[in-house]
């Protein structure tokens, strides 16, 4: 039963391939008819890259926060330095 089903698969695929190619023409020779660079430029202008904070800035901020939480008595000294 299982072998019969496996043997039918290439035939099924062949039939469907034939049917699909009759319904939808392959597009291997389709060509782009215009230059898309102006559209690309508009996209670049319209959507500037999101502002990203480098990972080491996040690490520094986390370290400072942790230090302030663990040693709150350094806050006045820190403020004095600022």
């Amino acid at each position: 039963m299982s072998n019969e089903r496996n043997n039918r698969q290439p035939d099924e695929e062949k039939e469907l391939r034939s049917l699909l190619k009759r319904q939808f023409s392959p597009l291997q020779n389709a060509e782009l008819e215009r230059d898309l660079w102006p559209q690309m430029l508009r996209r670049l202008d319209a959507q500037p890259e999101p502002f990203r904070v480098p990972w080491f800035d996040w690490a520094l901020a986390a370290a400072v926060t942790a230090m302030l939480l663990l040693f709150p008595n350094v806050i006045p000294a820190l403020l004095y330095q600022l």
Binding site: L20, L32, Q39, M40
Partner: protein
């Protein structure tokens, strides 16, 4: 500095040069997946937008820009198929070749279009590329970021799904 190195460093002129070199190929590949010229143009721009944003992750020394671009284009096209599957019909940009038009053929075509649209996006992608465009499995696998074995499985399942939907219509007779 090489073009790819300049691109990875954020040079817009280098990006433009790469865009002009590869836009046609990205467009052709995308069009084969979505089968809609307008969507393929938009997706080509979307692909290069993703490429530009991800430029820091590209290694100019070892990376293959063409393969990388094709993979990003495939993902963009797959996202498009996922979002438009239930909302739109297949484009009429590239209609079927004439084959002795009849009421049966028209009905079959309608059934086939619906069955094709109903395929989940990842199966429609491989069905388009493997069954209609006859792209080699290894190229589909590379572009989709999956193994050749998984491409074969998806083709197998896509055929089964289409067969099931068209079964009552007499697929064998229609294909002859």
């Amino acid at each position: 500095m090489e073009l790819l190195e300049r691109f990875a460093a954020g040079d817009l002129e280098a990006f433009e040069a790469l865009f002009r070199q590869h836009q046609k190929e990205v467009y052709r590949w995308t069009l084969r997946i979505v089968r809609d010229t307008g969507a393929a143009e938009d997706l080509t721009v979307e692909t290069f937008w993703r490429i530009y944003r991800a430029r820091e992750r590209f290694n100019p020394a070892t990376g293959n820009f063409r393969a990388w671009a094709r993979r990003i284009a495939t993902n963009a096209a797959l996202d498009h198929l996922r979002h438009t599957r239930k909302e739109t019909e297949l484009s009429e940009d590239y209609p079927a070749a004439a084959h002795g038009d009849s009421a049966v053929n028209n009905e079959l075509r309608g059934h086939l279009r619906r069955a094709f649209l109903d395929l989940p996006a990842k199966y429609r992608l491989v069905a388009n590329l493997a069954l209609i465009e006859e792209e080699p499995y290894n190229e589909i696998a590379e572009a989709a970021g999956i193994s050749v074995a998984l491409v074969k499985v998806r083709v197998f399942r896509a055929v089964r799904m289409l067969r099931k939907k068209l079964g009552s219509f007499g697929l064998e007779a229609a294909a002859k």
